[in-house]
Amino acid sequence: MSVLDIKDLTVEFPGRKSVFVAVDDVSLSVEAGKILGVVGESGAGKSTVGNAVIGLLQEPGHIADGEIFLHGKRIDNLPYKDKRLLRGRKIGMIFQDPLTSLDPLQTVESQLVETIRTHLPFSKKEAQARAIELIDAVGIPNPEERIKQYPHQFSGGMRQRVVIALALCAEPELVIADEPTTALDVSIQAQILVLMKKLCEERNVAMLVITHDMGVIADITDHVAVMYHGELVEYGKTTQVLGAPEHPYTQSLISAVPRPDVKVERFPVVNYIEKAGTPQKQIDISTHWLGKSRDYEKVVGPLVQIRDLDMRFETRGSIFPSRRKYFDAVKKVSFDVQEGETFGLVGESGSGKSTIARLITGLYHPTGGSILFGKTELTSLTNRKDVLAMRRQMQMIFQDPYSSLNARMRVRDIIAEPIKFHKLASSNAEVRRIVDDLLDHVGLGALAGQKFPHEFSGGQRQRISIARALATRPRFLICDEPTSALDVSIQAQILNLLKDLQEELGLTMLFISHDLAVIRQMCNRIGVMRHGELCEVSDCDQLFEAPKHPYTRELLDLMPSMELLSRANLETV
């Protein structure tokens, strides 16, 4: 018999103007010892399903229809007090962010003991023994000592293990994990997933894993439910759904996942979620505005040469030099970017890849080393006119589409600003014409110019960002994690757009990402960074086929296995 049964669940959020149906007629079931994955993109309603089961729907959301059964007993209509007893006791919960889901003022032991004693008739001694046993079970070494420590003394991955222990401490029958590994680095994500799979089987717990990541689904789930705009579009065995997806949405979702094993020319058309806009007409660079007055000097050799670049931040200031403390974000980094190529920088969070982007664009001033752009040494530029000329040649696309556009300006003004500032057009009418053309070119249509940024979705905003970067007619484009805040299908569209633009305009790109698969699809050559140092620079294929540096090998091993996905991809492409 299945542990959790959801029958025809509908969750509604009544708004002022209309009722928003977050979950529409969804039926699922999970068996003991099995993992069910719920996958979908933002706004699909996957988290709402989890919240509805545990009875933590945010006001004004409520279950409008349907039934939820736990071991055959109906739980959705229980009074508040009985629901509270279920939480923790019968249903455990693992949240996304291990930084905020533990109480920073209590030791791990007291949090565990409190939870155990709330739900089980244990004495304090027994509860403590059980807490140690649990901490041991989730793979934290030295449980007797570690348990006396506070959450801040644990690393992110260890903290997530504590959260898992907390979820398991009252022997629940069901565990709901809402994006359990999204906040973690790749290397830690792999360990946590293995642990979850192991515990689920050992303890015979049913598990509901909610995620946006196809890799997680492929790695650990037995069954998978694909959600789209509140509806369940496909539901079945993971091998079957990923191997031979039936619904067109599932197909496009799977084909949009960048593949780490093979380089594809373009991502398949994935406009199921968001229309990619009007088809972009090819432009002739010799006559078009974007190609006009490309008065840049010809470069012999690499376009950008970085030599022994150093950047240290002062973490503690003092008037006495000896008492100052520093953090070296970038240490002796050297690489070249050839004209017309895409150079990738990959590394985990804190490896210094974004700092390099900011050093090249002049947002930071390096503490040592040189950046040669063409024949110009950027670090010694002082003349404002020369600086502006350089700024015009290199532009940057930022990570967060929600904060990279000024919310108080119309899209048209945002894109016109660089054109007007660098006096690239002679009249206002010409500026207007160029802006409309740019908007059209990134697939938004000229009408978009009248709107404000908040009227657009994340992917559309990133297109605006790209249009703004193109507005100065740059030759060098730096993309700093341009798609890591986006859903996977929209990521595919944006990556396609960047590829097209590069081809058309002959742009040189520096592409920064933490995602090896994305890097592989985009780049000609790749640099691997770790703790501010460049470990390895090699050609794209060579890096993936025959990595030289041990850290590169480690990174490649940790990528979620994509065998299932790859097979599906081959069939759909």
Binding site: S42, R358, M396, L405, M409
Partner: protein, 325 residues
């Protein structure tokens, strides 16, 4: 980005469905969440109506007041200290009675309120301009500039605002002498109020600026090469104005009260251009001789004005603060 609020999801879906968002400006305002939160709060609606009525009475004083208290020809000392109409010995011409010089109290209150409001508005604007500029510079530049500006602000915060205003007023009186007082009193009052209230704006704007300047749209502007002054004015300023509007509304009430206090103490508006505070000060002399209405009615008008503006400010603060919603 796995978590998206339902509003965002809804907007995204509407966006994908191509729902047009072309609306007139008025319908947009009437349809906004702000306006609905306004309608939901009965107290706020009453306060808004009250504020509007008081403002109209004050600024239309020459047309709505029954008498002109500054027209010497129409004032008679024989009408002095007439009680309100419902009391004995009252005169039906004077609804709320008259003061010691025979001026109609109701008209004097309208005119007084006008002066109080003008002083309030001007000083709030002056304080805001000063505070916002210093706050923007301090927050954006950081380092020493920030340290100097904020230490000055800290030092000023150790004195009560009223003390600073008194101090500036006293210095100004010493410079200009008592003869020019009638001419300069108005400006001196505004300057002293502005200088005592700028700190709040500077602190708030500095805090928001430090948050905004690290956002990527500011960095994008820097990558384009736009100079700092323009970044501050065009990009950061519009994004930090929300909290400033709240402070300005609450400070308007505070400025009116402070102005009244200064006038009551005799360093504000002179008796020839009486504000509400001056009227109360005049009435204070007669409080114990039985002519209570000369002080009480201007006092009530002041209380009503400040209460209404404050209630509006409170609502604005809550409506603009997503954490309290």
């Amino acid at each position: 980005m796995p978590y998206v609020s339902n509003e965002e999801a809804k907007a995204a879906i509407q966006d994908r469905a191509g729902v047009p968002s072309q609306q007139g400006r008025l319908t947009k305002i009437l349809d906004s969440d702000m306006f609905h939160s306004f309608l939901r709060s009965k107290v706020t609606v009453v306060a808004a109506c009250g504020t509007l009525i008081l403002f109209l009475l004050a600024f239309l004083a020459p047309w709505v007041a029954p008498h002109n208290p500054f027209d010497l020809a129409s004032i008679s000392i024989l009408d002095a200290r007439v009680p309100p109409v419902w009391m004995e010995y009252a005169d039906p011409r004077f609804l709320l009675g008259t003061d010691d010089q025979g001026r109609d109290l109701l008209s004097a209150i309208f005119y007084g309120m006008r002066i109080s409001l003008i002083v309030g508005f001007c000083s709030v604007i002056a304080a805001a301009v000063l505070g916002i500029s210093l706050g923007l510079v301090a927050g954006y530049m950081g380092g020493r500039v920030d340290a100097v500006i904020m230490r000055i602000a800290d030092v000023q915060l150790t004195f009560p605002a009223i003390l600073i205003a008194l101090l500036i007023d006293g210095i100004a009186a010493g410079i200009f002498g008592s003869i020019d007082r009638e001419v300069f009193a108005f400006y001196i009052l505004i300057v002293s109020l502005a200088l005592s209230f700028w700190v709040q704006y500077a602190r708030t704007v500095r805090g928001s600026t430090m948050v905004e300047k690290n956002k990527e749209y500011v960095q994008a502007a820097r990558v384009i090469g736009i100079p700092s002054v323009i970044i501050m004015a065009r990009h950061i300023l519009p994004n930090v104005m929300g909290p400033v509007m709240v402070i300005a509304t609450i400070n308007l009430a505070l400025a009116i009260v402070t102005e009244a206090t200064l006038s009551f103490l005799g360093v504000g508006m002179p008796p020839t251009q009486p504000s509400l505070g001056t009227l109360i000060a005049v009435g204070n002399d007669f409080l114990y001789s039985g002519e209570w209405w000369i002080a009480i009615f201007p006092g009530l008008a002041l209380a009503l004005l400040v209460l209404n503006v404050n209630l509006l400010g409170d609502w604005l603060r809550d409506a603009l603060n997503p954490k309290l919603r």
